[in-house]
Amino acid sequence: MVTETSTPDVTAVRAASLGVKDTRGYAIFRVVNAVVLTLVAAITLYPFINLVAKSFSSEGHIAAGQVNLIPRGFNVTTFDAVVSDPMFWENYKNTVVYTVVGTIISMALTTTYAYALSRPNLKGRGAFTGIALFTMFFSGGLIPNYILVANVLHMRNTMWAIVLPGAISVFNLLVMKSFFENFPSELEEAAALDGMTTYGVFLKIVLPLSKAVLATMTLFYAVSMWNSWFGAFLYLDKKDLFPVTVYLRNLIAATTGSQEITGSQADAVQIGANVQSVTMLLTVLPIVCFYPFVQKYFVSGVMLGSVKG
């Protein structure tokens, strides 16, 4: 069940229960520890702050290397420039559609498979689990996957090339399986006595009682779908089908020439640094906005998975 990950503060409990005062050395350690951790947090946060600062800065100040923590030459015209590009919104909308469709497909496949695997009366569950597990350690690789999707299934320039190939995450599958395994089987047996079939039990009893884990898994899938770019980069060449991540990738590749760079173009690095920043900021915004509220679900999802290793 999803709970706040209140890791009991072992150290404090230990110190308090023994009524021992810290030694001098440990007192110094605690101060150093707090300072180092503050620095770690600050360094982790810095790139985001820098991104925000650049988004509101003028190109001239960025090119002069003057922007770090606070915007210089404050303006919001860059935002105007980015949001007035219809392709940006087209691609943003695509990302939303791919995320919703992909998450629904992933959840449907993962939930049903995990539930079936969690039932002890399913004959052959070891084999069915193994079929999924094996794909964690050995995969077809890029080229055979590409041939399958592009040449055999003819999914180039369709949404299916983006949402189908990675639909089941084995990690998420195992997390759900171990959750369903802990499900009290008495409830289901009682429901079955009332004449409910497996379908009824699953839809009317199991799913409603698993809201927390379903929410967690939905978040996992939605975030990875929102962030994904390579599938789209590989299988789509119509601009109006791109997700916003590929839009952003092309923007970065064009301005830094990271793909087709030549010596003379190397100076072009700073051009559009503010445009890049704004695009990145807008792409990441939904995640940053949701993140503080859903963080505990992510953490609990990982914990859930670790129970069974």
């Binding site: 520890n33 496949l109 080229i143 040449n151 390579f230 990271s258």
Partner: protein, 352 residues
């Protein structure tokens, strides 16, 4: 494994030895019937029942609704996971775009020969090993240290704030991470501001091969270390408090307690994560390297996966690239199996 494979019936380790309570579906197979008397040889069905097992026919008849749940996911796994595995045969066959997706004719180890005798392949091979090795050496221990430090904090709130902030980069798209990195190390970026601040000259980091590994590993640290602490923090809460008291009574100081109680306590978690990290060693952040690299720095920044992407997808040498991909996957598999074996032998912790 085929559904009717008789071997799987008796060797399936997951089937418990006790008779199973079916989830409510009335059992029509007369479970619990006394074993037949000597004389007549019991049928296969009866023998299975005596062992507390059900035959496939009975199981399918009884639980067909449950099996119907498996159909779509199994089709998915078959098509999108197992067909590409079989598709690797094109590493041994000549593949013509538009022809047979599994290749047209056998050519044996022709494509393997080709890359083994290609100097460029060995450049990217060693780049991969070095980059993967550096990543493993730096990104594996850091989360342990960070988790131990977080564990010493007494203020719940401070701990929570640090955790929230350090987990954040994990949720960024790799495209954003690459964009941020390229901006930070650009000529006008923060890193060069610092360099200039110390009186140095600005460095074109992304044009000098010597800098790529540091940049890549730093970005990997930034992105993964915070999130990597989660499992360790969970493991730390399971270390028995009595062990600490015993150690204290024996006169162990804080450092000795950490060394002799805490670290052994989280060793199984460490081993499992180490095995998993070793398994992904050869795949070193393909997407991130692809986004960060440019031709000027290929001499250090090109790795097996990006090389095979270029020759395979961009130059359409499918069979040649598939041979490299298969080689890479096999190394990965061997690494994870041997790490698992070594870990089970040496410290008794393993994935399976």
């Amino acid at each position: 494994m085929s559904l009717h494979d008789p071997v799987s019936v008796t060797s399936d380790p997951e089937v418990p030895d006790v008779p199973l309570a079916p989830a409510g579906v009335p059992d029509a197979s007369g479970r619990g019937a006394p074993p037949p008397d000597g004389g007549a040889r019991p049928s296969r069905e009866q023998r299975l029942r005596m062992q507390g097992k059900t035959s496939w026919r009975v199981a399918l008849k009884r639980d067909w609704r449950l099996y119907s749940f498996l159909v779509l996911p199994l089709i998915f796994l078959l098509v999108f996971k197992y067909v590409p595995m079989v598709g690797n045969v094109i590493a041994f066959r000549r593949f013509r775009p538009g022809g047979n997706p599994f290749g047209d004719e056998w050519v044996g180890f022709h494509y393997f020969d080709q890359f083994i005798h290609n100097q460029q392949f060995w450049t990217v091979f060693w780049n991969t090993v070095i980059l993967g090795g550096l990543t493993l050496a730096i990104c594996f221990p850091l989360p342990i240290i960070l988790a131990l430090m977080l564990n010493e904090l007494r203020s719940r709130r401070f701990k929570k704030v640090v955790q929230t902030i350090t987990y954040l980069p994990h949720f960024m798209s790799i495209v954003i991470v690459a964009g941020i990195v390229l901006q930070l190390v650009s000529v006008d970026g923060t890193v060069n501001q610092i360099v200039r601040g110390f009186g140095g000259d600005a460095i074109s980091f992304m044009q000098e091969p010597g800098w790529f590994r540091s940049i890549y590993v730093s970005s990997e640290v930034w992105q993964t270390v915070g999130w990597g602490t989660i499992l360790y923090l969970a493991a730390l809460t399971t270390v028995d408090d009595q062990l600490y008291e015993a150690a204290r009574i024996d006169g162990a100081n804080r450092w000795q307690q950490t060394w002799h109680v805490t670290l052994p306590g989280i060793r199984p978690t460490m081993m499992v994560l180490l095995i998993l990290n070793i398994g992904s060693f050869m795949a070193v952040g393909f997407e991130k390297v692809l986004l960060l690299q440019n031709p000027l720095i290929y001499s250090t920044a090109d790795v097996i996966s990006t090389y095979l992407y270029r020759v395979g997808i961009q130059s359409a040498q499918f069979s040649y690239a598939a041979a490299i991909g298969l080689f890479e996957s096999l190394i990965g598999l061997v690494l994870v199996l041997s790490a698992n074996f070594a870990s089970r032998r040496l410290v008794g912790a393993s994935l399976w």
